[in-house]
């Protein structure tokens, strides 16, 4: 193992300056990701997990967003001090993203092939046979008959296929870190499982680090080695996934885990999170 982690976030603070008030979306988040490690960031909507994910490559719109403190270091380099050209190399090339909505994350007027090819040309100018490379990655994400399907337009593919294309596009640039921001939320349950299995096997094969952003503890358990729980812009608990799931320390983590519906449960209603009680506890 390297002495220095691949990605190091120290006391990160992000504000959103709205017209009449300032929202502190991320309030002092620190974590590290080692090479090839899988980390899950879990939290409900508005907990700041997606903002943290986007902040890693400064994808947040500035303004209204504002970095008020802390640092992000990737391979020792300060991301917050990078110029535009260095940022463009970082995005996609070193840290790639997969987003929630595959149907709208692909540009409707271009074929799958042209979109992946553009990503490859952007970050790997040394690749000569781009067409073959596109087919190879589509094949890797399990698209049957890749050579033919790559000339399809996004609307001709199903939601699961579209997400596979997004994954292929992200991996085609051979990033060191893959940030999957709610990658399965827009998909139905069976496809969710397929996509998570695919991500796990691709991780095994290519060895990149994965940061999984989700609100769903259910998909974390079999996937991530370490889990960070975010609540109101702070990390309230972190540790190995097994430990956090079996004996959660923080009240919020317990509440979140109780929200997972269980088979054979006698509860008449699904548990929800009682924020008033949590606020008192904190």
């Amino acid at each position: 193992m390297n002495a220095r982690p691949l990605l190091e976030v120290r006391d990160l603070r992000v504000d959103f300056a709205l017209e009449d008030r300032t929202v502190e979306a991320v309030r002092g988040v620190s974590f590290e990701v080692a090479e090839g490690e899988t980390v899950a960031i879990v939290g409900e909507s508005g907990s700041g997990k997606s903002v943290t994910a986007l902040a890693l490559t400064r994808l947040l719109p500035v303004p209204p967003a504002r970095f008020t403190g802390g640092s992000i270091r990737f391979q020792g380099e300060d991301v917050l001090a990078m110029n535009a050209a260095a940022l463009r190399r970082l995005r996609g090339g070193k840290i790639a993203y997969i987003f929630q909505e595959p149907s709208t994350s692909l540009n409707p007027v271009f074929t799958v092939h042209s979109q992946i090819a553009e990503a490859i040309r952007l970050h790997r100018p040394d690749v000569t046979d781009v067409g073959a490379e596109v087919a190879r990655w589509l094949d890797a994400v399990g698209i049957v008959d890749a050579a033919k399907r790559m000339h399809d337009y996004p609307h001709q593919l199903s939601g699961g296929m579209q997400q596979r294309v997004m994954i292929a596009m992200a991996l085609a640039c051979q990033p060191d870190v893959l940030v999957a921001d709610e990658p399965t939320t827009a998909l139905d349950v069976t496809i969710q499982a397929q996509i998570m299995d695919l991500l796990a096997s691709l991780k095994e094969r290519f060895g990149m680090a994965v940061i999984l952003i989700t609100h769903n503890f259910g998909i974390v358990s079999g996937f991530a080695g370490r889990v960070l729980v975010m609540y109101r812009g702070k990390i309230v608990e972190q540790g190995p996934t097994g430990e956090v799931l079996s004996c959660p320390q923080h009240a919020y983590t317990r509440a979140l885990i109780e929200c997972i519906p269980k088979l054979g449960s006698k509860e008449p209603r699904l548990k929800t999170i009682d924020h008033a009680a949590l606020a008192e506890g904190a």
Binding site: L87, L90, G92, F99, P108, C173
Partner: protein, 343 residues
């Protein structure tokens, strides 16, 4: 190359017969007018003299070449009836309309304007110039002017509207206010002013019209870019490391082309009418440039010679009608509602 949507729109456009044939006729007329020098000219297309071939529409020959006395341009009209020229095996092949748009036929019998005859199919104007030849050259100027205006206006409209919509915020507000002030400038005064300072040339007129032409389109583009920049694929593309220029022109613009294409024929239309109107008022291109507006003006001053006004107005009417049919067809082809057929 073309997306299936673009192909289906093209098929739809072709299936609207009126629009498709209008486009074909209009393009054919425009292509013919581009070769006006070979269609309407008092110089012959081909000339044989002393056993050699000459191409007077393509090259300059002096009078001396054909046994004349001067080194100035050969007088081909004079050569036609010159017995000396014919004695040395001279012959010539004239263009379909053997008149120059600028030559006054003052030697013809009667006073100009001359009514239509076998020699001048649409008669001559008050300066005894052939109306048909002037109509053809006028069409070319009109179309070239209007198409250039449309291209310049479209580029500026896309760039400025796109910047406003994509950047938004303060940039958008400042530019929008400037546009409002700009568009309140009285266009006609600006044309008169600029024309009197820099001369009423093609370039000056094009410039003055172009600085106003883009405004309408920029509103549409601003709205489209505002809407499209929030699309997840724009964020996804930024997350892939695409720069601003690439996002603007590769990701957003191809999705924002519908207003551009549907407005295009109508911008061409507006260009034709405004140039004609300016020429009619005398603030357009300088005489003796063949122009439709100037012909209508002449027709108004010579109501006893209706062929002048009738020709110009007829030509204008047909051109505008064809362009409108094309525009209507394009709009229908881009109408998403006509695609949704439950089968």
């Amino acid at each position: 190359m073309l997306s299936p949507l673009a192909r289906s729109r093209f098929r739809k456009f072709r299936s609207i017969k009126r629009a498709w044939y209008s486009l074909l006729i209009l393009s054919a007329l425009f292509v013919v007018s581009l070769f006006s020098e070979h269609v309407a000219n008092d110089r012959p297309l081909l000339l044989g003299y002393d056993g050699r071939l000459y191409f007077p529409t393509l090259k300059f020959y002096s009078g001396e070449t054909f046994g004349g006395r001067y080194k100035t341009a050969a007088d081909y009209r004079g050569l036609r009836d010159d017995p000396g020229f014919r004695d040395r095996g001279g012959w010539m092949l004239l263009p379909p309309i053997p008149h120059s748009p600028l030559h006054p036929y003052l030697d013809a019998s009667g006073t100009p304007p001359h009514p239509p005859s076998a020699r001048h199919w649409l008669g001559t104007d008050s300066a005894a110039r052939d109306v048909l030849a002037r109509l053809l050259y006028g069409f070319r100027i009109c179309m070239v002017f209007s198409l250039s205006l449309t291209v310049i206006g479209t580029v500026f409209g896309i760039v400025i509207g796109g910047i406003q919509g994509y950047l938004g915020g303060r940039v958008d507000i400042v530019i929008q206010r400037l546009i409002e002030i700009w568009s309140a400038l009285p266009f006609l005064y600006v044309v008169i002013l600029m024309g009197s300072i820099y001369g009423q040339t093609f370039g000056v007129l094009l410039f003055v019209m172009a600085i106003f032409q883009w405004i309408g389109l920029s509103y549409y583009m601003r709205g489209e870019f505002y809407r499209l920049r929030e699309q997840p694929y724009v964020l996804a593309s930024r997350a892939m490391g695409a720069g601003t220029t690439r996002i603007l022109f590769r990701q957003i613009l191809p999705n924002a082309m519908t207003p551009v294409i549907t407005l295009l024929p109508f911008m061409v239309l507006a260009g034709i009418t405004s140039l004609t109107a300016l020429d009619f008022l005398g603030f357009g291109l300088q005489p003796p440039t063949p122009s439709w507006g100037e012909m209508i003006q002449q027709g108004l001053n010579n109501l006893q010679a209706p062929w002048i006004a009738m020709s110009a107005i007829g030509a204008l009417f047909i051109t505008l009608m064809l362009a409108t049919f094309v525009g209507e067809g394009v709009r229908d082809a881009f109408d998403p509602k006509s695609h949704t057929l439950l089968k």
